[in-house]
Structure formats: structure tokens, C-alpha cells
């Protein structure tokens, strides 16, 4: 099995689907000649031509709205937002048109919007956000947040196959940092099925995306104190694997929810509420939330470090839970 970076796995999955299925096309700003701001579609235009790898004008509304029309006409568009932050300019088309079209008009809208998200390299307020929770509130959208190269490929293929609008959040900080074995053949990774990143007995951490690795480093620290931490990587936020979360919560009786998005109204709150509704009597401690503070993502390195949950923050939270 070849070793691929997270970014190569996304490219690999997308290229494979474009070879297999003529309906799949790519559209976005600078995705063609330039190969995308992060080079996910490097070489795609040479292989698939200018009408399947379209350089769009700087117009997110036209991109997302256009994908909706093309999808209703039977194609399988994969749009790239240059940065996840820019999806705010296409919000209306996702939320008003694409998300509601099947429910009200019976017309499926199978589009994938790729969203390079997350901070960690001083991108500032407009190149670092993790807006997945905002969209989790909108009925009709599916939300995917892969953490590993293998999932990045399998979840992208599932997203393209899915008959609904899917937001595919790819964490920029994982692009070239994370590398692992990825099967060469085509495979899908099902939505709504969490992955046990690390098995443990004492505390459950529910998280996704880049925070899986932050949690893992913290768990290694706790291991030295004989505290065994289980890490659940949700993989997809909508739908999310309630069953796996509840089972793990019942097993360990102590739960932390961890995300890079801001705290108030973050998806962690939904998870915590569900656990307290359905597994309250199994809990030995209040559910702990670790998330970014309720601020824009600041630019300067010490501020950004204070914004994104760090290994020490998670480890401290885990110790508190262990001692409770």
C-alpha cells in the first residue's frame, strides 16, 4: 500500500472518481492552470480538459449556484472554495437553494463543496476558520471532516456518490503533515460511522479533524499517569454517530468534547446535550468542553496559539476529568 499525505489522498480520490465517472467535474478559483491554491487539482486540467476542470471567476455565488443547477441536470460537481472562509459568499446558495431543494421540490442536489479549513499558520480571521457548526444547523446538508489520509479518500468518494449537498472540510494543517498508507483501489468510507482512533477505558474524547492529533498527544501524556483515554474521531458531523458516542460514554463514564471551532453553539454542545439526555446516569463527571474562545481567529502567533486548543489545554482538561 502506498503512503500518501492527506492532500495526496484527496487528489487521489478525486482523480479516481473523475476517471471513473464522466459526470464528475471540478470548478473553483484557480483550480485549473494553477492546480488550486493548495495544489489538490495539480495536473487535473491536462488530464481532463478545461470543461471538466473549470477556472471560475472570483464568484462563490456563481460557483455554488452553478453547481446546484449542474447537479440538478445530472452532473456531479465538486466545487473548491479557495478557503473554507469564503463559503460565506456562497451561503445563500447552499442554505437557501441546495439544502432545501429536495425537501420542497423533490429534486436531489448532489454537490460536493471542498473547504480547506482550519488554522495553525497565521492565516488570520479570513483564512483559518472552521465553520462546520454553522452548517450543522441547516437541515439538508451533510458535513464531513476527515482526519486521516485513508478517510480523506474514502469520505470524498462517498461524498461524490451521495445524492445530497455535502460539505467536505479538509484541514489545511493536515495537508502535508499527516502521511499514512492509503489503499490504491477505490473504496468508500460510510457517513455517520465514527472511528476509534485510540482505545481507552477511563475517559472518552469526542473530536474530529486536526484535533484528533492534538487529543492523541494529550492522551499519550495521560498514559504516563496511568489514565487510559479513548479517542473517537467522528469523521462526519452530519450525520454523526450517536451510538458510538453513547456507547463509549457509558463505558468510560467521563467525556470531553473537543473542537477547533468556537465554543458557543459549537457542535460539541450538541454532543454534550445528547449525552446528558441519553446517558446521564452513566456519567461520573460533568461533560468537559474544550474549544476555541468566542473570538475571530487572531493573526499574531501567540494569539492564534491561545485560540486553537493546544495539547496542554487538552491534557489539563483530561487531568481534571481524571481527578473528578
Amino acid at each position: 500500500m502506498p503512503e500518501l499525505t492527506y492532500l495526496q489522498a484527496i487528489s487521489d480520490g478525486l482523480r479516481g472518481e473523475m476517471r471513473r465517472d464522466k459526470r464528475v467535474f471540478v470548478i473553483g478559483e484557480d483550480v485549473g492552470v494553477y492546480g488550486g491554491a493548495f495544489k489538490v487539482t495539480l495536473g487535473f486540467q491536462e488530464e481532463f480538459g478545461p470543461w471538466r476542470v473549470l477556472d471560475a471567476p472570483l464568484a462563490e455565488t456563481a460557483i455554488v449556484g452553478g453547481c446546484t443547477g449542474a447537479a440538478i441536470m445530472g452532473l456531479r460537481p465538486v466545487a473548491e472554495m479557495q478557503f473554507a472562509d469564503f463559503i460565506s459568499c456562497g451561503w445563500d446558495h447552499l442554505v437557501t437553494v441546495a439544502a432545501k431543494q429536495f425537501y420542497r421540490a423533490g429534486t436531489p442536489v448532489p454537490i460536493v463543496v471542498r473547504l480547506p479549513s482550519g488554522g495553525g499558520f497565521s492565516g488570520g480571521p479570513f483564512h483559518s476558520q472552521n465553520p462546520e457548526s454553522s452548517f450543522a444547523h441547516i437541515a439538508g446538508l451533510k458535513i464531513v471532516c476527515p482526519a486521516t489520509p485513508e478517510d480523506a479518500k474514502g469520505l470524498l468518494i462517498s461524498a461524490i456518490e451521495d445524492p445530497n449537498p455535502v460539505l467536505y472540510f479538509e484541514h489545511k494543517h493536515l495537508y502535508r503533515r499527516i502521511k499514512s498508507e492509503v489503499p490504491e483501489e477505490r473504496y468508500t468510507t460510510p457517513f455517520g460511522k465514527a472511528r476509534v482512533h485510540r482505545e481507552g477505558e477511563d475517559i472518552t474524547v469526542v473530536t474530529w479533524g486536526a484535533m484528533v492529533y492534538t487529543a492523541d498527544e494529550a492522551a499519550q501524556q495521560l498514559e504516563q499517569d496511568d489514565v487510559s483515554v479513548e479517542i473517537l474521531d467522528l469523521r462526519t458531523i452530519i450525520p454523526w454517530d450517536r451510538q458510538a458516542v453513547l456507547e463509549s460514554a457509558k463505558k468510560t463514564s467521563k467525556v470531553m468534547v473537543l473542537h477547533e471551532d468556537t465554543r458557543t453553539g459549537g457542535f460539541g454542545a450538541e454532543i454534550a446535550a445528547t449525552i446528558s439526555e441519553e446517558a446521564f446516569e452513566h456519567l461520573d463527571a460533568p461533560i468537559k468542553r474544550i474549544a476555541a474562545p468566542d473570538t475571530p481567529v487572531p493573526f499574531s502567533p501567540p494569539l492564534e496559539k491561545a485560540f486553537i486548543p493546544q495539547v496542554e489545554d487538552v491534557a489539563a482538561g483530561l487531568r481534571e476529568l481524571a481527578e473528578y
Binding site: 471567476p57 443547477g69 440538478i72 446558495h93 437553494v97 432545501k100 425537501y103 423533490g106 445524492p163
Partner: protein, 347 residues
């Protein structure tokens, strides 16, 4: 000075034959215009009777939208808006389903999930509008993009009002369509009022069709009360797009003859304006044209109106028999399943 071309009226049966319509087609147009108005008039009565929840919108004065739909090919698609009932009727949406939609019944095109003219039958090549105008323009452009990618000889039509021309969606959609020379026709229903806001507070150019030049394609202004002129310009634009000639923006000039919705008495529209445009009622104009140019007899005229009346009466009965949706199904069909992709477009 205006940049856009001004469309000529159609002055004889010979001229309209050259544009692709025979005498029988003309009677079909007349019938569809009467049916369009009839659906809205009957709908208004239902609303007053308290049988229609929410609000109620009409397109009185814009029945020439039938002309645009008549110019569309069977495989073409369009995103008509709340003043374009004529498009639904002409594409073949059965009036009883429209009444069922108005009343929130299970047999309306949206099965009670959405109301009023927020509907479409995808089997007839129509896409359901949303309230956020002109959000359907980029969607129509996306349909045209799909046709271009697959190299199909199909055309997409996107409607918008002069009010919606102020929003960014109009610009982004038209710019992208122009850049890629996509097979799309933009129809601007300029009815002079965006709710209570007149045109001089909406845009500063002489005509909206003038904007087409800035996007690199042709703009045409047409008298929107003249159904044959509307048909002929739509036909030209659609066939041009089909042949690879790129988009056209057609601005169809009318007056919104009623309020924004039926709760609105349009007190802000000068009375003289209503009086002036009432003389140019699109149905009355076409009826006169048919009598003068196509020798429509009293008998033929009565035949058409009687047929329309019959259709409407039966439609109302059938719609009132349609059940209301079952509340226990509220969470069904939020997400599509693979088998739901089995629509004409996904085959």
C-alpha cells in the same frame, strides 16, 4: 442613450409564421394566457375564502410570459418566478396541481412543503424558485453549464425582476455565463415596482438590457404586453444560445397590475399609471390581434374561453379533494436517497 435593441411588434400572420407559429399555435397561446389569468383569479377567490394559507401572489399584466415558454424546446429548462404562472401553465403543469399547491395539499408539486408559486415540476423541465431573488439565475447558468459540458443542444432560461437586478447573484450569474458563452437566456420581468420601490430607486441605467453589453452579450427590450413580440425575441435568443451564440438578456416591460401580494393595495402606484397600462392588457391586446390578423371568429373565441372555464372548475374540485399532508411525515425526505436520483435529468 439606450444600448440595447428595441424589439419590433409582430404585425401579421405571415410574420409570426416565419417565427415558427401557425394559426393553431396562436390559439394555444391565447388559451394558455386565459388559463394563466384564470388560475390566478380563482386562486384569489380561494384566498379570500380562507382556503389558502400564507400569502398569495399574482402576475396580472405579465401573461405574455406564455410567449417565452412557447419558444422553449421540449428539453430546455427554466426557473420561472412568482409572476410567471404562464410558464408553468404552458409547460403543462395541470391547474388542479397548482390549486393543490396553493392550498398546501399533498398533490401540489411541493406536497405542502412549500407554498404559493414556489413550485415546479421537474418532469416538465422546471426548477422551483426560492424567495431570495434572483438566486435562480446562477442556478439556470449552472444548468446551461451542464449542457455545455455534455455538449447537448439544450438551453436554460432564468427569470428575474427589475428589483432583483440589484443583487449580486444577477451580476455573478450573467458574468459567468458571458465568460463561458453558455446557452442561457435571461428574462427580466420589468414590472416597474419592487414591492413599493419604483425603478428610479432600483437602478440608474436607462434600461436593464443595456447591462448585457457589459457582460459581452446582447440585450433586447421588448414590450411585455405583446405576447407575439415576447415569443419572437425569446425564440431568437433561445435558438441563438442553442447554436453556440451565447446568452441574451431580454427585458420585458410591463406594469404589475396588482399589489406585491394580495394583502397589498399598491396605494403607492399612481392611479394614472394603472389606467394607462390597463389599456395595454396583454390578453385583450392579443384577442384583438387574433380578430384582426387571424380572423378569430366569435365561435372560436367562445370555444377557448368555455374550455378554460371547464378546466378551472374541474381543477378546483379535484384540488379540494386532495388530502392535506400527514404531520407524521414532517421529517421524511430531508435527505435524498440514491434511488431518488432517478429523475429524467439523472438518467
Amino acid at each position: 442613450m439606450a444600448i440595447a435593441r428595441e424589439a419590433e411588434p409582430v404585425s401579421s400572420l405571415r410574420e409570426i409564421r416565419e417565427a415558427g407559429l401557425d394559426r393553431e399555435d396562436l390559439f394555444g397561446i391565447y388559451r394558455n394566457m386565459l388559463l394563466t389569468r384564470g388560475v390566478e383569479e380563482r386562486g384569489h377567490i380561494l384566498y379570500r375564502q380562507g382556503k389558502i394559507p400564507g400569502s398569495f401572489y399574482t402576475g396580472r399584466g405579465n401573461e405574455a410570459s406564455v410567449g417565452v415558454a412557447t419558444a422553449m424546446g421540449a428539453d430546455d429548462v427554466g426557473c420561472p418566478l412568482h409572476r410567471d404562472m404562464g410558464v408553468h401553465v404552458t409547460r403543462g403543469v395541470e391547474p388542479w396541481r397548482i390549486f393543490a399547491q396553493y392550498m398546501g395539499r399533498e398533490d401540489g408539486p411541493t406536497r405542502g412543503r412549500d407554498g404559493n408559486v414556489h413550485m415546479a415540476d421537474s418532469q416538465l423541465g422546471l426548477l422551483a424558485m426560492v424567495s431570495h431573488l434572483p438566486a435562480m439565475l446562477p442556478v439556470a447558468v449552472g444548468c446551461a453549464l451542464a449542457f455545455r459540458i455534455r455538449e447537448e443542444r439544450r438551453v436554460a432560461l432564468g427569470w428575474f425582476g427589475e428589483g432583483a437586478s440589484a443583487r449580486g447573484d444577477a451580476h455573478e450569474g450573467m458574468n459567468f455565463a458571458g465568460v463561458r458563452r453558455l446557452p442561457v437566456v435571461f428574462i427580466c420581468d420589468n414590472n416597474q415596482w419592487a414591492y413599493s420601490t419604483p425603478t428610479h430607486l432600483e437602478y440608474a441605467c436607462e434600461t436593464l438590457a443595456d447591462r448585457a453589453a457589459a457582460y459581452g452579450f446582447e440585450g433586447v427590450v421588448v414590450d411585455g404586453t405583446d405576447v407575439l413580440a415576447v415569443y419572437r425575441e425569446a425564440k431568437r435568443a433561445i435558438e441563438k444560445a442553442r447554436e453556440g451564440g451565447g446568452p441574451t438578456l431580454i427585458e420585458s416591460m410591463t406594469l404589475r397590475m396588482e399589489g406585491h401580494a394580495v394583502h397589498d393595495d399598491a396605494f403607492y402606484v399612481p392611479k394614472e399609471l394603472f389606467e394607462e397600462w390597463a389599456k395595454r392588457d396583454p390578453i385583450e391586446r392579443f384577442r384583438t390581434w387574433l380578430r384582426e390578423n387571424a380572423e378569430m371568429t366569435d365561435e372560436e373565441e367562445d370555444d377557448v374561453s368555455a374550455g378554460v372555464k371547464r378546466t378551472l372548475t374541474q381543477a378546483l374540485e379535484r384540488a379540494e379533494a386532495s388530502p392535506l399532508p400527514d404531520p407524521s411525515t414532517i421529517t421524511d425526505r430531508v435527505f435524498a436517497r440514491a434511488e431518488d436520483l432517478d429523475t429524467p435529468h439523472h438518467k
